[in-house]
């Protein structure tokens, strides 16, 4: 359970989050959607203690994230932000292996190796395992980073736009993977998504944000409606139900 209470954050004079309170139960996939600058990434980073709030607090299973020791939290919660530049030349397997750092401190055990292999297989990276990251395409690199956080094997998985750089096939595979991590392995997955149709088809909950506030939260059926999306994005959005899935139409 993640409890966010009265969170405020500004960058300089510009406020990014106003008094955000939110409670996310364990399990399932929660998507954060909303227009640019809504504060989605900031909220995700605050939950993962990558940035410090001006006021308010975040607890994960009752642990205050700003006070809990880093290694303790790192076995419970993992985050992957959008832009990940590697300067160091590491192979895919080495990078994924560092996902085990909170567990092993670098000395890999047999259990660690099994977790690394599983993560590599999940993301179809086994054939690329011994390549250097700088020899991969953008999409392959993105998958390698996701494999790293997956190898970290935490209850909570926070991903900021994990579909960046992925083609349709890998984007779909990524969303299915996250859904199965949530439903089969009991993980709690929170993702920032720009594609509202992926959010609609694969989430258990959607949290919509606008101008630094929570705009609405609920099931896809509650959130993916023409009125709500239209107001959220300030544009006309039609919604059709196709094969039992609610699809937003905004291309025309």
């Amino acid at each position: 359970m993640i409890e966010v209470s009265s969170l405020c954050k500004s960058y300089g004079a510009a406020p990014v989050l106003h008094d955000v309170s939110l409670s996310l139960p364990r399990g399932g996939v929660t998507s954060l959607i909303g227009p640019n600058g809504a504060g989605k990434s900031t909220l995700l980073s605050l939950i993962a203690r990558l940035i410090v709030p001006d006021s308010g607090s975040v607890t994960v299973d009752g642990l205050d994230v700003t006070r809990t020791p880093g290694p303790v939290l790192a076995r419970r919660l993992a985050i992957l932000r959008q832009e990940n530049h590697l300067v160091a030349r590491l192979t895919v397997r080495e990078l994924v292996g560092f996902g085990r750092f909170p567990h092993s401190g670098g000395r890999l055990t047999a259990e660690d190796r099994a977790a690394i292999d599983r993560a590599l297989d999940y993301l179809e990276l086994a054939p690329l395992a011994d390549r250097f990251i700088d020899q991969l395409s953008g999409g392959q690199r993105q998958r390698a980073f996701v494999a790293m956080v997956l190898a970290q094997d935490t209850d909570y998985l926070l991903l900021d736009e994990p579909l960046n750089n992925l083609d349709m096939k890998h984007a779909q595979a990524m969303m299915r993977l996250l859904a199965s991590a949530a439903h089969d392995l009991g993980k709690t997955v929170i993702v920032v998504l720009h594609d509202i149709n992926f959010a609609s088809c694969h989430s258990d909950r959607i949290v919509a944000m606008r101008q630094g506030r929570i705009f609405a939260a609920g099931t896809p059926a509650e959130i993916v409606t023409p009125d709500l999306l239209g107001e959220l994005y300030e544009m006309q959005i039609a919604v059709r139900e196709i094969d039992g899935q609610r699809i937003a139409l905004f291309y025309g």
Partner: protein, 318 residues
């Protein structure tokens, strides 16, 4: 593993050769026959010089790798982050304030200044976000130039230019028994960097990823740069500044093996030692009986290799 053993063997060969190169003629036959003069030169001069080369080469190369990993830039090393020049300034200040202080105290002052200089460099980088990674070492070179200019000005005023030259010119001709042993401390610190290698590699993944993995990123970066500053101060006070070593050795090792520090450090140490041994031997042979200082040989060789590395990375980026 066998390749590393081969590299160690090559380095050992260079070290052995280093013992028998120089003005006064030390021969294997003389050593075996127990010739007094041969033994004297060997024990008092050649052996200390060879050890000084091994230790300073290995520890400076590791310091370079560590700088690149924690600052997250391929083209930095203590000689272009303000670290090395600040160490020199610290030594000068110590010479002025407490001329009779023991070498270890001078070294400590040098290390303190080196840390402050590195911190200043990092502060500048934070203020001026640079889009091109190539600009980072340029900023560092500018800063180093300013610090060195200040050092030279003060030295000139107090008639200490000769003294400063001894630190700025990496030169091993003055190394004798009793004047290099501090380098063991530098090598020990470099070994600490190896023990904490995984932490440094994780820190090198960037603040966000490192924090997500539970690492106290700021503290590990500070530890890394402290080790770099201490190693640099030790090397500057004993043999003087050795440019480019910390730059080219880790880059070449990285091309072949990558940057996982635990794997890279032994290679970087062995290659760094081999490179300074080779350059020092070259400097002693090239216009014997005179010597070309190690710093000069490495400056010429290193800048050429550096250019190749930069052009290569441009090609890869394009």
């Amino acid at each position: 593993m066998t390749r590393l053993a081969a590299a160690v063997l090559v380095t050992a060969g260079l070290a052995l050769a280093s013992l028998f190169v120089g003005v006064s003629n030390v021969s294997l036959r003389g050593i075996l026959a127990g010739q007094e003069l041969d033994w004297l030169v060997l024990v008092e001069s050649r052996l200390p010089r060879m050890l000084a080369l091994l230790l300073s080469g290995a520890s400076m190369a590791i310091a370079g790798l560590l700088t690149q990993i924690v600052i997250r830039n391929r083209f930095v090393e203590p000689a272009n982050t303000g670290t090395m020049e600040s160490a020199g300034l610290g030594l000068l200040v110590m010479t002025l304030v407490a001329p009779g202080a023991p070498v270890i105290a001078k070294m400590a002052a040098g290390a303190g200044f080196a840390m402050a200089g590195t911190a200043l460099f990092l502060a500048i980088l934070r203020r001026v976000p640079l889009r091109d990674p190539m600009l980072v070492p340029l900023v560092g070179i500018l800063l180093s130039g300013v610090i060195y200019a200040g050092t030279a000005f003060v030295a000139y005023r107090f008639d200490l230019i000769q003294t400063v030259l001894a630190w700025t010119q990496g030169d091993l001709s003055g190394v004798l028994r009793g004047r290099y042993e501090l380098l063991w401390l530098g090598a020990t610190l470099a070994a600490v960097a190896w023990l904490a290698a995984d932490r440094f590699t994780v820190a090198g993944l960037g603040r966000d990823i490192a924090s997500s993995l539970g690492l106290a990123h700021g503290r590990v970066v500070a530890l890394g740069l402290t080790i770099v500053s201490l190693v640099t101060a030790v090397v500057v006070v004993t043999v003087g500044m050795i440019p480019f070593l910390g730059l080219i050795v880790p880059n070449i090792v990285s091309l072949a093996l990558g940057d996982n520090m635990r794997r890279a450090v032994p290679w970087v140490a062995v290659s760094g030692a081999a490179l300074v041994l080779a350059c020092d031997i070259l400097g002693r042979v090239i216009r014997a009986p005179y010597e070309v200082p190690l710093g000069t040989v490495l400056g010429v060789l290193g800048s050429a290799v550096f250019l190749v590395l930069i052009l290569r990375s441009r090609d890869r980026a394009a």
